[in-house]
């Protein structure tokens, strides 16, 4: 196993969370999408919004792009209609124009635990095509956020500064 693989397989999510220190962006299911979009604009480093219920448990996630699509779909639907080529695009468009709240627009939650490794977190983000992941406690309440891009940057930086790396 190379040093690069060891790094991903042995570094925990908790360790990375401390390193990245990006605040989760949490909204409620009945929050209006326009409000959500404005809040997201104030947290540019958080590309995945967490949606919680009244008990504060994460019930879904909302990619920023999806929020933007829902709002754009209301104002200038032509912008989204022109890109539709297949059934997946249609379903996505249909979902976008119907959604008015975070709960209606959200997708199935994607989470990791503090004990999981970075390698496992990467795999979840890759499989779900998400740019971030919420770290939750045993009850499912969000305790942190892991951002794919920030994580990838730190990862490359660590590898580049590794003294054992061949020059």
């Amino acid at each position: 196993m190379t040093g690069k693989f060891r790094l991903a397989r042995h570094t925990t999510v908790a360790a990375c969370q401390d390193l990245l220190a990006i605040e989760p962006l949490i909204v409620h299911g009945d929050d209006d999408l326009l409000t959500v979009m404005r809040r997201a604009a104030g947290h540019p480093e958080t590309r995945l919004i967490g949606v919680v219920d009244d008990a504060g448990i994460l019930v879904g996630v909302l990619p920023v792009l999806r929020v933007a699509e829902s709002v754009i779909g209301r104002v200038v639907p032509e912008a989204l209609l022109s890109d539709i080529e297949d059934i997946d695009d249609v379903a996505r468009f249909g979902h976008a124009i119907e959604a008015r709240t975070a709960g209606e627009a959200m997708i199935e939650r994607a989470v990791t635990s503090p004990d999981a490794t970075i390698d496992q977190a990467f795999r979840v983000m890759h499989t779900r095509h998400l740019s971030g992941l919420y770290i939750v406690d045993a009850d499912g309440r969000p305790t942190g956020y892991l951002d794919l891009l920030e994580l990838a940057i730190r990862y490359v930086e660590v590898i580049e500064t590794d003294p054992s790396r061949p020059s």
Partner: protein
């Protein structure tokens, strides 16, 4: 080849039944099922490779591949969305008129392009319009599915069963248009009139919500006007080509491939991404079916089936033709009409060889296979795809909800077809 003797019949029947059961129940992907069935009959020695491969109707494969390639290029232009918005404005943003106009547009497009592409690409605008007008999109989507299957009945290239029948029977585009066109138009007219009673209720909306539809700018959805113009010209020329193909001694598959090649050349689009979007699973589905059905013909099952059907109808042309229409309609409502048609083509050929006039039988099979698909949500590819898409968009279409309209439309269509077949070919 393994000398199976009479056991070959039993083994072939077993492979055939298992394959069709897998296709019908979707326990495994239908393309895999067809390919497994088609290769199994070769591997166990029921037919040899040359015979099995020779049974693959390349005219059908090339016709489908050519039309799929052209449709792939056309759908990149935003044409369908443009047409849907124009139709909405033409309908004055009145929900019921909109339903009628979109249904007719869907039927016309489905006559020359594949039904799934048509309904899928008209759907997003439909969803948006329904949302703006604050009415349910479900009646619009169901109406478009039904119209699409009716429109597809009209031409050689409108529905896969017609492509299969046309190629096997040597019937060209014009013959389909002249024989299937009139009844398809009549059914469409009756369907459009009946939509008032089927879907016309609860469609009143306030004028203020209509404004949003007139504010839509259809030109904004066109992604490439040059490509659109080129695509429409080449597709139009291809359709003219279909009309003159038979006198020139050319197959429709050749014309479709030529059209696809010309469009790829003059449009300048990258070939690889376009060809990647061709529905290869559908083409391989046909390959497997052709091989499997060849084995069923080879061992004599088709002869026996045809003889049994002739016994049942007493060999009377009227009873046989009308019986085949209803059998095909009912079967296509339950199972995929492509494998059904592939199996029934040799049966019809055998019936023709026994002295029953064959031309009415071809039209009977085509009408039954295409129109029967309207009865249930699983009856045709377009039905399944739209139901899936509607569900994912938050507007599920249930089996019974669809059947409420679909069965009625299918039964009326088959009744009209019965009268048409009798009056035109059997009197």
């Amino acid at each position: 080849m393994i000398p199976w003797g009479d056991d070959a019949v039993v083994l072939t029947a077993l492979i055939f039944v298992v394959t069709y059961a897998l296709i019908a129940t979707e326990r495994i992907d239908k393309t895999i099922a067809a390919l497994l069935g088609g290769t199994a009959v070769v591997v166990v020695g029921i037919v040899d490779q040359e015979e099995a491969f020779g049974a693959i109707d390349l005219n059908v494969i090339f016709l489908l591949a050519g039309m799929m390639t052209m449709a792939t290029i056309l759908r990149r232009t935003g044409f369908f969305q443009w047409l849907a918005i124009r139709s909405a404005k033409f309908a004055g943003a009145e929900p019921y008129r909109l339903l009628v106009v979109l249904s007719v547009v869907c039927a016309l497009l489905s006559a020359v392009l594949d039904n799934v592409t048509t309904v899928v690409l008209l759907a997003p605008v439909t969803l948006y319009l329904a949302r703006v007008l604050r009415v349910s999109p479900v009646p619009f989507l169901i109406s478009q599915i039904l119209a699409s299957n009716i429109g597809g009945t009209a031409t050689l290239i409108g529905d896969p069963p017609n492509i299969l029948i046309g190629s096997a029977a040597g019937l060209g585009f014009l013959e389909f248009l002249l024989n299937m066109g009139p009844i398809a138009v009549a059914i469409l007219i009756v369907f459009v009139i009946s939509t008032r009673f089927l879907f016309g209720r609860d469609m009143a909306v306030h004028d203020d919500v209509k404004e949003a539809i007139f504010e839509l700018d259809e030109r904004e959805v066109l992604t490439d006007e040059r490509l659109l113009r080129i695509s429409l010209v080449v597709i139009g020329a291809t359709i003219v080509g279909f009309m003159v193909a038979t006198p020139l001694g050319l197959e429709a598959g050749t014309i479709a491939l030529l059209g696809a090649a010309v469009l790829l050349l003059v449009s300048g689009v990258e070939v690889e991404p376009v060809l990647r979007e061709v529905e290869w699973p559908t083409l391989f589905f046909f390959v497997g079916l052709f091989m499997l059905v060849e084995a069923v013909v080879h061992v004599g099952i088709i002869d026996a089936l045809a003889a049994a059907l002739i016994d049942l109808t007493g060999g009377d042309p009227t009873v046989t033709t009308i019986g085949l229409l209803w059998l095909s309609g009912i079967a296509s409502a339950i199972i995929d009409n492509i494998p059904y048609t592939a199996t029934m083509i040799p049966v019809v050929q055998q019936m023709g060889a026994s002295g029953i006039p064959i031309e009415p039988l071809w039209w009977s099979l085509a009408l039954g296979a295409c129109l029967g698909g309207n009865a249930t949500i699983v009856g045709a590819s377009a039905n399944v795809v739209v139901a899936n898409m509607a569900g994912r968009s938050g507007h599920p279409i249930g089996f019974l909800e669809f059947a409420r309209y679909g069965v009625l439309v299918a039964v009326v269509s088959l009744l009209m077809s019965s009268v048409y077949l009798y009056g035109r070919y059997l009197l």
